[in-house]
């Protein structure tokens, strides 16, 4: 019974974290262009890191 006292909150917290992560991604427009995102990874950008 004591294990439940922390296991259930932990489980719910992790689930809630996933949910809020998804809602954040949705809100910040990351699902608006799924096809484009798949292609953009192949595009070379010329913003190389400075050394």
């Amino acid at each position: 019974m004591t294990t439940l006292a922390y296991l259930i909150p932990v489980a719910l917290l992790l689930g809630g974290l996933g949910l809020s992560g998804f809602l954040w991604a949705l809100k910040s427009g990351q699902y608006e262009d799924l096809d484009g995102a798949a292609e953009r990874i192949l595009i070379d950008q010329d913003d190389k890191p400075e050394r």
Binding site: L23, E32, D33, L42
Partner: protein, 750 residues
């Protein structure tokens, strides 16, 4: 493709038009949304974004590959030349109206609801599994309390969609599928809460939340499908002017939006622009393409004094006209009014799901009530009676029924989407499955509304090549056809070419004067000698005819095959046209259409359809022109090609993007198949209920049995809907031929 046909006819939008369609983002930054249908890969993204970003004053350009749109942010008063840049790169772009963005809100609300319901259903199900496997006493109570807490946001947020819809239906005295869902879910929650407070054994939190989750998935898929179709249709080019250049009395010119054009204003219409409002021409000669307005296939020559209708396309020369009507009184607005007045079978149609739930909900609620009364009489234990009655409500909650229809329609719409047919909403599929007669428009629907040269074989290739070179300088549809036939390299080089609007094209080459155009104008020597005055298009050298061209309207690809297929599908086909009887008879003979009516006004088409409807027929209307729009609205269900005018595309239930007319018979085939699967699915759901309800009434249902039964019936229904995919897999090869390319297979080969 038909799309390109429509695009080619319109010039690039003017700077004024771009400004009008942009929205201000504060400061002096504007955002313009463009629809670029040709974007298809990562390379396109890079090319477009790089090229647009290099333009002066462009702050940011972003391509959305999924919706095939580009949004450009720019600053200052000057509009950067992004249309020219895009067309140089080979991409056709259209302006996109910003107000359509509003629609996306429903989708994100649905997705958020699915996420919340999914989270809640998953967690509650985990807790329920421990209860089913034997958690007892305080542990079970704890789990029930936690479940009750998790269910609250799911019910409030995800359930809200159903509660609102059910309340709305009840307020209007109607019944829809959401009413029994809302009642079942909220009663299940209420009793479970009561159970939990009294340390009871059976709580249905899992059932009520997972029910919402399943149903929301179906609803979201349905919405996504429709949204995709709508986006694709909205991205097509605009065939109505946004505004026009007004010539003020003091000689200044100003770009005025269509809505602000007043009778009496003088308007300048450049070649390639559409006439914005009805009016009379003051000066200028030109040819007008009226096909989209009246259904006439041949362009009309106009000069000072001619009355012109809104929506016609000015082809060859600039015109000055005086508006005689405001936009709201013009031909276009008249069509919209006729359409609204004609709104026939569509508004009266009730969707299958709604018709079933009108029967289903009262039966289920009565059964639950009867169960309650029965247990009260038999045992006298009101607590037991309520628990069993609620169990009946939960087990009959139309999870499978709620999914049975939308899942099949989503599969069907996806199948049609792949074949280039956009479905506006699910009820369109139901209505299409019921039709027994089809009415076709001629120009632009059965035919392409594009001329085709019939006597190629009889023309000297050298003469054809000269004609093609000359024709490349004009927008006239005959010229465009001729220009596409060039290629011979030995012809003399043209030196100066000029176009005489309403007459033809003149050029000089190797010391002689060549004219391509109307016989009476080009062959001035023949005219003097009095022969050959019967019209037609000719090529002359120094006034002597060297070649004459005979044009016919080209049939749409697979028109004949599509009509045959429709006959096989036991649909009677008719043709209604605004064109002349002779032109109609020819097309009707070629396509084996036995019944046709020529010379119809827009209201005449509506009347014909209403006559058919009162005779008990369910009519499918296929048409593209502005003159077809009222008929599209009046018919039981309607289909328009992508080249149709905007209001036609908006009025139609289906829009097909490819050239082949087989899209019509494919849509019919898929919708009939879908109708069959929907009936099967409903039968499955009813069968499930006839088994489950007696068990529930006898009081043997526990939360575990309810959860298993509901999921099993939902999976069964979804599995059955997926069979549409199997049917469809062998269909594409025979039903989707090459899209485009078939202009050449015109009348002669049929």
């Amino acid at each position: 493709m038909a799309l390109e046909v429509a695009d080619a006819a319109s010039a690039l939008p003017s700077i004024h038009e771009i400004k009008l369609a942009s929205r201000a983002l504060g400061g002096d930054i504007h955002q313009t949304d463009l629809s670029v249908p040709a974007v298809h890969c990562g390379g396109c993204i890079q090319t477009i974004e790089a090229a647009l970003a290099k333009l002066e004053n462009v702050e940011m350009a972003r391509v959305n590959l999924s919706t095939k749109r580009v949004s450009v942010r720019w600053q200052g008063d000057e509009v950067p030349p992004f249309f020219a840049t895009l067309s140089r790169l080979g991409y056709q772009a259209h302006l996109f109206d910003p107000e359509i963005h509003e629609k996306d809100k429903t989708l994100s609300e649905l997705i958020r609801a699915v996420a919340v319901a999914g989270f809640a259903a998953g967690n509650i199900m985990l807790l329920s599994v421990s209860v089913w496997s034997g958690a007892e006493g305080a542990t079970r109570d704890l789990f029930h309390w936690i479940s009750a807490l998790i269910a609250i946001p799911a019910l409030a947020f995800a359930g809200g969609i159903y509660f609102r819809s059910a309340a709305n239906a009840l307020r209007h005295g109607r019944m829809n599928m959401d009413v029994p869902i809302a009642v079942g879910v909220s009663l299940a929650y209420a009793t479970s809460l009561y159970e939990t407070i009294n340390h009871g054994e059976h709580a249905y939190f899992d059932a009520s939340v997972s029910l919402l989750f399943f149903l929301l998935i179906g609803r979201t898929l349905d919405h996504v499908m429709r949204e995709r179709a709508r986006t694709a249709v909205n991205g097509l080019s605009r065939l109505v002017a946004r505004g026009s250049i007004v010539l003020r009395d003091d000689g200044t010119r100003e770009y005025v939006p269509v809505a602000e054009l007043m009778p009496g204003m003088r308007l300048l219409i450049a070649a390639g622009e559409r006439i914005p409002v009805d009016g009379d021409i003051i000066s200028g000669n030109s040819d007008l393409d009226c096909s989209i307005v009246s259904g006439e296939s041949a362009p009309k020559t106009v000069s000072a004094g001619t009355h012109v209708q809104a929506g016609t396309l000015n082809l060859t020369g600039p015109l000055t006209m005086q508006a005689t009507a405001a936009a709201k009184d013009s031909f276009l607005a008249e069509m919209v009014r006729l359409m609204e007045a004609a709104e026939g079978g569509r508004s009266r149609y009730r969707r299958i799901a709604d018709r079933i739930s009108a029967l289903y909900a009262p039966v289920v609620h009565l059964a639950a009530f009867a169960t309650f009364l029965g247990w009260m009489i038999a045992s006298g234990d009101w607590y037991r009676a309520i628990t069993v009655a609620i169990a009946v409500l939960i087990i009959t909650c139309p999870c499978a029924l709620g999914l049975a229809v939308p899942i099949v329609q989503v599969m069907a719409a996806r199948r049609l989407f792949e074949a280039g047919v956009m479905v506006k909403d699910g009820s369109a599929l139901e209505r299409l499955a019921a039709i027994d007669s089809a009415v076709f428009d001629k120009t632009g629907t059965l035919t392409l509304g594009l001329p085709r040269l019939v006597n190629v074989a009889a023309i000297d290739p050298a003469m054809l090549a000269i004609a093609a070179d000359m024709a490349a300088h004009s927008r006239h549809p005959f010229s465009k056809t001729l220009a596409g036939l060039g290629g011979f390299a030995g012809q003399p080089k043209l030196e100066s070419v000029s176009e005489y609007p309403g007459c033809g094209i003149e050029g000089t080459a190797a010391g002689s004067t060549w004219r391509l155009g109307r016989r009476g104008w080009a062959a001035w020597k023949a005219r003097i000698s009095g022969k050959g005055t019967n019209g037609g298009t000719v090529l002359t050298k120094d006034g002597v005819i060297v070649a004459s061209f005979v044009f016919e309207d080209a049939l749409r690809a697979d028109a004949r095959a599509a009509i045959l297929k429709l006959n096989e599908q036991e649909v009677s086909v008719q043709m209604l046209s605004g064109d002349t009887a002779a032109a109609c008879r020819e097309v009707a003979n070629l396509l084996d259409i036995r019944r046709f009516v020529p010379d119809l006004l827009p209201s005449g088409k509506v009347e014909r359809i209403e006559t058919l409807a009162t005779a008990g027929h369910k009519v499918l209307m296929v048409g593209d022109g502005l003159n077809d729009t009222p008929a599209l609205g009046a018919a039981h269900v309607s289909i328009a090609p992508a080249s149709a005018a905007e209001i036609g595309r908006n009025a139609a239930d289906f829009v097909f993007l490819r050239e082949s007319l087989l899209a019509v018979s494919l849509a019919l085939e898929v919708s009939r198949k879908a109708g069959g699967l929907i009936r099967q699915n409903i039968a499955v759901a009813i069968l499930y209920n006839t088994i489950a309800v007696p068990v529930a009434i006898l009081g043997h249902v526990t939360p575990l049995i309810a959860a298993i039964a509901m999921s099993a019936s939902s999976l069964l229904v979804i599995g059955n809907a997926l069979r549409l995919e199997g049917f469809v897999r062998d269909a594409p090869t025979k039903t989707v031929p090459n899209d485009g390319r078939s202009n050449s297979s015109g009348l002669a080969q049929l």
